[in-house]
Amino acid sequence: MRALDKLWQALDERLELDPIVEFVAHKVVPRHRHSWAYYFGGFTMFFFFVQVATGILLLLYYRPTAEAAFESVQFIVTRVPFGWLVRSVHSWSANLMILSAFAHMFSVYFMGSYAKPRELTWWSGFALLGLAMGFGFSGYLLPWNQLSFFATQVGTDMVSKVPFAGAWLLKFLRGGNEVTGATLTRFFGFHVAVLPMLTALLLAGHLAFIQRQGMHVPASLEEEAKKRKPIRFVPNFMLREGVVWLLGLAALAALAAFFPWELGIKADPFSSAPAGIKPEWYFLFMFETLKLLPAHLLGIEGELLGLGAFALGGLVWFLVPVLDRGGRVGRRSRAFLALGWVVLAYIVGFTFASFAGVFK
């Protein structure tokens, strides 16, 4: 311990660590009946860390070409010691990360925490969720199997409907006119270099905003939060969050062991899309909606109308801190509360209905 003390002293002498120590010692998390919602952000970050660690491991064997990608993943899961575990944890953790991010987003939304002065936190969080979905979409293609090939075909084709820039974006994403090995190599680059860099930057901002402003307490819970003693961040809240992380780790281990992620069959660009094809669950609500839309609606092609509506919905969701004027003074309008419930019911309803096979 004396050695550690000395090291600390030496660092303190040079870097003046007092303000940091002071800040950490005084950092608290408010306590009220919805305090549980404060764990989701950290929980999402935990899965992100797992993604970084398992992703780096997969990089040791994965080969990003149309000829070798499928075989390299096959090699990982069948021959490399614990390869099945690393790959399955990577896939499961990706899904749980998105699930946790959604829980985080909706809990923040329903507590009205997006309102001034926390707009930037909402916007950086929105962008982080977008990046997470980008990770999911690009990572889905990397094993180069039949399902991922057609999912990428459809997903990139949607991008081509963007006004003006569509054709350019399509070529940029596909690395050509079709989904080929060039697309795979590109998606690999996005997945392991571009998206991680952007995520690290945004995550740093997102966390910095929270440190600067502290946790938000909804107006309706202020009384309660004032009465109860807040939780000290170090060590009390950290230890509790640690327990939640351990639960997450246990869930990952169980899921990976009992439900190993399928590899499917190798992509063949000259075969038909297989029956029963569907995207990852977090795209299901959009997927099913697009299936329900007729070829033409109000004189416009159905899918254009659907994609336009999703883009508009996303924009409204993004702009909620500006649109919900009452939120700034702690009086959120009922309309926005209702909007949150409608969006949640729509996403959850369509996702479950899709799993239950309601849509043929």
């Binding site: 075909q153 084709d157 079709e178 038909s272 899309a273 094809i277 697009l290 299936k291």
Partner: protein
Amino acid sequence: MRAANETPAVSRRTALNWLLGTSLGATVAAALYPVFRFVIPPQVAEAPVNRVLAGKLSELPDNSGKIFRFGSKPGILIRTPTGEVRAFSAVCTHLNCTVQYRPDLQHIWCACHNGQYDLQGKNIAGPPPRPLEAYKVDIAGDDLYVTKGA
């Protein structure tokens, strides 16, 4: 000599800022232009394919279909229940998936979003907005040749 209260139309500061700003803008543009060009791959010179040997008549029983390669895109050969052979582009007009022949429906079907086309390639159900592009089929003995732009 200039009068003390006379100010030039453009101050030295404004002119300098403008020069600096445009130089900086030009530098950024000069760096970004190659990046924008780099991310779009060059067109690979491909001999335009107008006619391919798509399959054998003997391998295509009545009420069945087969995907064939037409240049860089997939095409679909179908043999109707009455024995006629037809060919279409296999690229679904909805969102680019590859369609297949469904003997049970006696239709062309896309698995991605449940789009359906009849035996003329016309979109009849589901989200596809346009019919499939039709090709011309020539039967030479047992060989099926498909020609574009028929």
